[in-house]
């Protein structure tokens, strides 16, 4: 398309997506979006036809998580738009760059309760970083450019573009426009209210560097912002330069290698004992791209109460939202860390020395020795231990395997037991906690990297929410692998009922027998397996790893009584962390 060439809104929209470098659109057509689907036939962009629009949204998220590029989904108006509400909210809470295009009834029909009309921009206003209702075809190239700019810069997030049918329909004069493609300068000038700060304030950086060198019990609290800012290398440099341990939140697993001696793993409600306690006892919490989420802090007033706080985040609203920082730094995590590293270097060169942290390091290794992750081994005749399944899978897959999970016990065990040694190998729903996330997210990740192994670790409850997308995976030849940790319960809810509701189990039992996951998988064109005994675990995983021409589903029948430990009960202080019953004796002695 040449500048000033006459065209129409639908063709311009697809052309604009091509120019933004979009490789794949996840979507499903319908009446209002029909004119935009027509030019897809000629486009270089791959379209993956989903079976439910929620799947399209999570696939776009999975794609974005592993590539860092914005995921794109496209659906029609009304019920299709409401079907993507969950993924939009999910992407909003986890700062996932995503562009969602929805069809809308013709502009003149808006507000008349026309067929399949809903107020999409109104509904999604609070769960998108920004959204647009296009009112003029000539705005399309500009709006698409703005949407990608907004989705991917500053704190990333989902942007929605709602397109009325008349504006994209070539038979309608309202769809006419002369093609143009705005320059970067024009995009920025057109958004006078959007100027994300990326470079940290030099005085604050210097203050942070001095505090880091002076701290005796420092710890780094690394959040998802590290991955969003592609700051994993910088983080490693900071940790190694100072010898400071790194705690990686659920959203930051893989941002610092688990096999690094300075890695402490996951904090929070189901964090490991050492990570949790390091926060409680630290004198300097170096917070990088994290947001003091309640699942991390537990009771806020008692969280890290001995610590001074450095808080660096690209979103100024996170600074002081939950915890008042001593040194607030607004900026991109990678730039800020690099600046802190060079500030520390020049302090060291000018003769400053770092405080002695050896006692702190001993305390940390003491905790690690006393309270490693623990589960009781399998008892013959009983069901599989989910942790054992995870360890076997972990030890028999390539180290760059992409791992996705649903939400529940299986998610926490995966985060605890997997060894994430590379960034962008862990895809999960942290902020919204969306059951049903993993199957479509895995498909999105595999669509991005067809040559990598992609495993989704799912719960039986979660799997039943979005499993039909395996039909999409089969038909589109996106061979993901699914391990269902099938405890026949909504296990996480069952755990709360066991521990906090006197073992009164209300509406958490699913079923022992239905669905038959193996048959269900096979009916969707996947290879299906069922594993009951520990001896079958490894051979079945090996078989699954060999299959590359279709998706694989393994139904691991696991022990329903198994609980996730450690655990900080909701609203309790992190210092009241409950460890595995077998470790209770050691508690409180540090």
């Amino acid at each position: 398309m040449e500048p000033n060439e006459p065209t129409n809104g639908g063709a311009a929209l697809i052309r604009a997506l091509e120019l933004e470098g979009v490789e794949v659109i996840f979507g499903l057509p319908g009446g209002a979006i029909l004119p935009v689907y027509d030019p897809i036939i000629e486009s270089s962009i791959r379209h993956v036809l989903v079976r439910h629009e929620q799947g399209a949204g999570h696939m776009a998220e999975g794609y974005a998580h592993v590539t860092g590029k914005p995921g794109v989904c496209m659906v029609t108006s009304g019920p299709a738009a409401t079907n993507v509400v969950t993924p939009l909210a999910d992407a909003y809470l986890d700062s996932v760059p995503m562009v969602c295009i929805t069809g809308q009834v013709p502009y003149a029909a808006i507000g008349t309760d026309a067929f399949q009309e809903c107020d999409t921009t109104g509904i999604t206003m609070s769960i998108t970083k920004h959204n647009y209702l296009v009112s003029d075809a000539r705005d399309i190239p500009r709006i698409v450019r703005e949407a990608f700019h907004i989705a991917t810069t500053g704190r990333p997030g989902p942007v929605l573009i709602d397109v009325p049918k008349d504006i994209v329909d070539p038979t309608n004069p309202r769809s006419a426009l002369d093609w143009y493609w705005p320059t970067d300068e024009e995009v920025i000038a057109g958004l006078p209210g959007y100027r994300p700060t990326t470079k940290g304030h030099p005085r604050k950086i210097k203050e942070a560097a001095e505090m880091i060198l002076a701290a005796e019990r420092p710890v780094i609290y690394a959040g998802g912002g590290i991955l969003k800012a592609r700051a994993a290398e910088a983080l490693k440099e900071l940790a190694e330069l100072t010898g400071i341990h790194v705690v990686t939140t659920l959203m930051a697993r893989g941002a610092f290698p688990d096999d690094h001696e300075l890695c402490l793993g996951m904090p929070g409600m189901h964090g490991n004992y050492t990570a949790v306690m390091s926060f409680q006892e630290t004198d300097l919490l170096i917070t990088l791209g994290a947001r003091f989420d309640d699942r991390v802090t537990g009771k806020l007033d008692e969280f890290a109460s001995k610590a001074k706080v450095i808080h660096a985040d690209i979103d100024p609203a996170e600074l002081g939202k939950n915890r008042a920082p001593d040194v607030p730094i607004v900026g991109d995590a990678r730039l800020v860390i690099e600046e802190i590293v060079s500030a520390i270097r020049s302090l060291l060169e000018s003769g400053r020395t770092q405080a002695d942290t050896s006692a702190w390091k001993q305390t940390i290794s003491g905790w690690q020795e006393k309270h490693p992750l623990h589960y009781d081994q399998h008892v013959p005749g009983e069901r599989l231990k989910p942790q054992f399944v995870l360890e076997t899978l972990r030890d028999n897959t390539p180290s760059d395997t992409i791992v996705c999970s649903g939400v529940g016990q299986h998610q926490m065990w995966t985060s605890q037991y997997w060894h994430f040694n590379h960034p962008y190998t862990w895809v999960n729903s942290g902020g919204l906690g969306t059951m049903g996330f993993s199957v479509p997210a895995a498909i999105g990740a595999k669509a991005a990297f067809p040559d990598r192994m992609v495993w989704a670790i799912d719960g039986d409850g979660c799997f039943q929410m979005t499993a039909q997308e395996l039909v999409t995976a089969t038909v589109e030849k996106i061979p993901v692998k699914i391990a269902i940790l099938n405890n026949s319960y909504l296990g996480m809810v069952r755990q709360w009922q066991e521990m906090f509701y006197d073992e009164r189990y209300s509406e958490v039992f699913l079923s022992q027998d239905v669905p038959d996951y193996k048959m269900w998988a096979e009916s969707m064109g996947c290879a299906g397996f069922r594993v009951d005994s520990p001896e079958e675990v490894l051979p079945t995983i090996q078989k699954a790893n060999e299959i590359n021409d279709r998706p694989v589903v393994i139904d691991f029948r696991t022990d329903a009584a198994e609980k996730v430990f450690p655990m900080v009960a909701s609203g309790k202080s992190n210092s009241e962390v409950m460890v595995h019953p077998s470790q209770v004796a050691g508690i409180g002695e540090f």
């Binding site: 109104g122 206003m125 209702l133 009112s135 907004i150 209210g193 100024p316 609203a317």
Partner: protein
């Protein structure tokens, strides 16, 4: 609207609430007021009063003057969250002590011929005007500082207020009282 409390009702009524005025410059685009109001509702902040009007550059920008009743730390959070809205270009926070505020009130008051002149006199004292006259009612308009309008309201009440509307306040920062050159000297001395 869930995020809006009336001047007399809402939360925190037993405590004297401190009002802050936020002057928010927004791009003049459809739905922008909904974004601002929606953000207050979604984040659990209360709007005390709100006024919207085009600016001198009315093609591109509008000004929303929002009075919020919060203590200072949530106010910071409100401002930061507001600023994240893509269409919000600038936010100025006006301390009541450093700003001039005005509000317009119009009201219909019971005023049969026997008290009509009393009501007119009262309106005159507050430099207001009579904007409509009926058989036994008067409609009046008064503008001024919000506190003064409270007084007028109080004084009119005994006559019987039939209907009353206030616009919500608009505000501008107080101007410098000293010439610029003197001010820079003062600054240097103060530092």
């Amino acid at each position: 609207m869930p995020g809006v409390t009336s001047p007399s009702g809402g939360h925190n009524t037993n405590k004297a609430v401190r009002h802050h005025t936020l002057v928010v410059l927004v791009e003049n685009q459809p739905g922008v007021l909904a974004r601002v109001a929606g953000l207050f509702a979604r984040r659990g902040f209360n709007i005390y009063s709100l006024a919207v009007a085009p600016t001198d550059d009315d093609e591109r920008f509008s000004r929303i003057t929002i009075v919020v009743d919060v203590e200072s730390s949530p106010l910071e959070q409100i401002t930061k969250q507001l600023f994240k809205l893509i269409n919000v270009v600038k936010i100025s926070e006006l301390d009541p002590d450093d700003s001039v505020e005005r509000e317009l009130m119009i009201a219909t008051v019971k005023a049969d011929p026997s008290v009509r002149s009393q009501v007119i006199e009262l309106v005159d004292v507050f430099k207001g005007s009579v904007i409509d006259v009926g058989f036994d009612e008067l409609s009046i308009a008064v503008n001024g500082e919000p506190d003064k309008l409270d007084d007028v309201e109080e004084l009119l009440r005994p006559y019987g207020i039939v209907e009353l509307q206030r616009t919500g306040r608009v505000a501008l920062p107080k101007l410098e009282r000293t010439p610029p050159r003197l001010k820079s000297v003062q600054n240097r001395v103060a530092n």
